[in-house]
């Protein structure tokens, strides 16, 4: 029988032995063709996303500022002065989400990898993964129904406590000034986002912590370190780049998350840091979702242009995150 997938080093057999065609040659060709075409098709899709968005966004980018005067939701602004506040809202909600989610994820990752009993660890990790499976629209419902009333007393306290009041009188308004119930502000939206990115960051961080070389850990413990000292000496230095890339992945998700922000936040188009006031901020994604159904003409193009900006941002963030992971895999020596 002829070997169909012959390695290149195989010596050429005399033609009499290899009578007829190798079996399965056509099948091999077809199969390899389909597989390669699928791989290339993925690249085509990604390119198509960029190209189609660019084609439709171009009229908005090149239009004169006066062209947007008739677009109701742009409030008479031109494209860039309309997009800046949205970019700012997107960034600030994502930053709040990361500030809350990253320390929590590191804690959860450590708990699952180093604190929880071995037999329970996998099941507990699965519980956190379940959070990732919950549809975003339901997170939105939950944010309005459960989280908002819960955080309202806390926000009231933040806004009215003596320290804030003193600062307001002597320095000026603080980031906690002027809270108004209900808590439809950027901080609540950021908290909901934090819970949505939590499982993504945790999953990566946990894997990295679990890969810590066993010998490093045991060496540390053998020198008399407590568990926390062992984690400081062995686990965290090993996992640092993993934590950074996990944070970037979480950022990518938080930037593009739509429904939670759309449902929880009362929108506004300002650039300021009043985290507790409603009607100040809006994110790009939520803005597209809320105005797209009613938009027409150049308004659609403007929304698509903002979507293109979001796409480029998340693409860049994810690319950097993957680059960090890949670099780490090359140099860590543990894999």
């Amino acid at each position: 029988m002829a070997v169909t997938d012959s390695p290149p080093s195989e010596p050429e057999a005399p033609p009499k032995v290899r009578a007829g065609r190798a079996p399965g040659r056509l099948g091999n060709r077809v199969f390899q063709g389909i597989s390669t075409a699928s791989g290339i098709f993925i690249l085509v899709i990604l390119a198509a996303v960029a190209i189609f968005l660019l084609v439709r966004a171009w009229p908005a980018v090149t239009a004169a500022p006066s062209a947007f005067e008739d677009v109701g939701f742009m409030l008479g602004r031109d494209l860039w002065s309309w997009v800046w506040p949205l970019l700012f809202g997107t960034a600030i909600s994502s930053v709040i989400a990361l500030v809350v989610a990253v320390p929590l994820s590191i804690g959860i990752g450590l708990f699952i990898s180093h604190y929880a009993p071995r037999r329970l660890a996998q099941g507990l990790g699965y519980l956190i993964d379940l959070l990732a499976a919950i549809p975003s629209v339901i997170f939105g419902l939950w944010g309005i129904q459960w989280l908002q009333p819960l955080v309202s007393p806390l926000f009231t306290w933040l806004s009215t406590n003596p320290a804030t009041a003193w600062l307001e009188e002597n320095v000026g308004p603080t980031i906690f000034s002027g809270y108004q119930a209900p808590a439809r502000n950027i901080l609540t939206a950021g908290l909901v986002l934090a819970i949505m990115v939590l499982p993504i960051i945790t999953a990566t961080v946990r894997e990295v912590f679990l890969q810590t070389p066993r010998l490093h850990e045991e060496a540390s413990l053998a020198l008399g370190a407590t568990r926390w000292e062992m984690i400081r000496q062995a686990v965290l230095p090993f996992g640092r780049s993993g934590v950074i890339s996990a944070t970037m992945l979480g950022l990518g998700r938080a930037l593009g998350e739509t429904m939670a922000v759309l449902m929880v936040l009362s929108p506004g188009y300002l650039i300021n840091f009043f985290l507790l006031q409603p009607g100040q901020h809006q994110s790009i994604a939520a803005n597209i979702a809320s105005h797209f159904p009613e938009a027409s003409g150049i308004g659609v193009d403007a929304l698509i242009a903002s979507g293109l900006i979001l796409f480029v941002m998340t693409f860049g963030v994810n690319l950097v995150a993957r680059w960090i992971i890949a670099r780490r895999a090359e140099f860590s020596g543990a894999n």
Binding site: T36, F52, R56, R253, L319
Partner: protein, 349 residues
């Protein structure tokens, strides 16, 4: 003559007994409840938070006094790490709880089998049948596109891929998992706007949007499963003269089929709840639309969003639809885990 007893060994480091945290925890929780009685009365959240803070303080201080600074730090770290984990469970538990609590009010067989034709104002009838059909259509279209594409790409990456093309695809698939869902929706919308024209609305557009989101997830999980297949199996098959493509179909895929099924089901569970792209592309309808290629179509996530936005009696329908959606997603996840547990080949887990 006196017998000299050996000196009692001096313990230089004193440790707290192993059971020490338990009474401290109970005491902190009781104390937290007591503190709350001075105010408005205890709540579960209050007892949990104040109790956790008290426990952290008492445990660390006691440990600092008895055991010294290093052990105190260790105990504080243990408390914080455990607290972080418990804190993360709160959203999960509370979310499931309120969806079930508010969802069961309207959740019934009738809700699942009627649509919204002729329902207006504060009428409490009506259901999500049309939205369930729509979700099945849209997710079905996405699956028909994404599953073969994803599996073949994974086969390319594992079995054929060499060099820069394969590396580029790997990186871009990873990046593609991070595409915001709303951007996928915009893409599908512009695609049909440019090719077919502005008036066209159908489940197909939504299906394409979801396929963009689903494909990278399928590729990643299938790729991981194919890499788990031992090389010895492939080599044994080649040695018997089996062509490469048959080896892939009959040996590699056959071995990895449980893992592939799991990955595909989790990918479906991920896209079935996507809301934003469907909000842009397929809109909402009040009756069942049996034609996947023409006309607006309702889907469960959009139904939840729209009904909740209307308020009143519609909000109850939103919760019932949310419960339906959660049940579907959880079932998919559960079945996926069971498949991978009971059907994966020995040693590959």
């Amino acid at each position: 003559m006196s017998v000299t007893t050996p000196p009692v060994p001096v313990r230089t480091t004193r440790r707290l007994p192993r059971w020490a945290p338990i009474p401290v925890l109970v005491a902190s929780l009781l104390l937290a409840a007591g503190i709350q009685f001075l105010g408005d009365g205890p709540t579960i959240a209050g007892v949990f938070f104040i109790g956790a803070i008290l426990f952290g303080i008492i445990m660390t201080v006691t440990s600092r006094v008895v055991e010294g600074e290093r052990y105190a730090k260790d105990r504080l770290a243990t408390t914080l790490v455990t607290f972080a984990f418990l804190l993360a469970l709160i959203p999960l538990v509370s979310l499931l709880w309120i969806v079930i609590r508010d969802g069961v009010k309207r959740f019934s067989w009738e809700f699942l089998t009627t649509d919204m034709t002729g329902i207006y104002g504060q009428m409490v009838e009506g259901g999500a049948f049309h939205a369930i059909i729509g979700t099945v259509y849209v997710t079905g279209i996405a699956s028909i596109i994404a599953i073969p594409l994803g599996i073949f790409t994974a086969i390319y990456l594992v079995e054929y891929g060499r060099g820069p093309l394969s590396r580029g695809i790997t990186v871009l698939v990873d990046v593609m998992t991070g595409i915001p869902s709303i951007v996928a929706g915009l893409f599908a919308f512009t695609l049909f706007l440019v090719i077919v024209g502005p008036a066209y609305k159908s489940a197909l557009i939504g299906g394409i949007a979801l396929a963009v989101l689903m494909t990278p997830v399928v590729v990643r999980s299938v790729e991981e499963m194919l890499r788990l297949v031992p090389n010895e199996l492939r080599e044994a098959s080649y040695a018997l003269g089996v062509p490469k493509w048959l080896t892939i179909v009959k040996v590699v895929l056959r071995t990895a089929i449980a893992g592939i099924t799991t990955g595909v089901m989790i990918a479906i569970a991920r896209v079935i709840g996507e809301t934003a792209p469907l909000l842009l592309t397929v809109g909402i309808a009040t009756a069942v639309n049996w034609d996947a290629f023409d006309g607006r179509i309702a889907t469960l996530p959009v139904f939840v969003y729209r009904q909740y936005a209307q308020g009143g009696a519609s909000a109850d329908r939103a919760w019932a639809a949310a419960l339906t959606l959660i049940i579907i997603v959880m079932l998919l996840n559960l079945v996926a885990r069971l498949v991978s547990r009971y059907f994966s080949p020995k040693g590959a887990r």
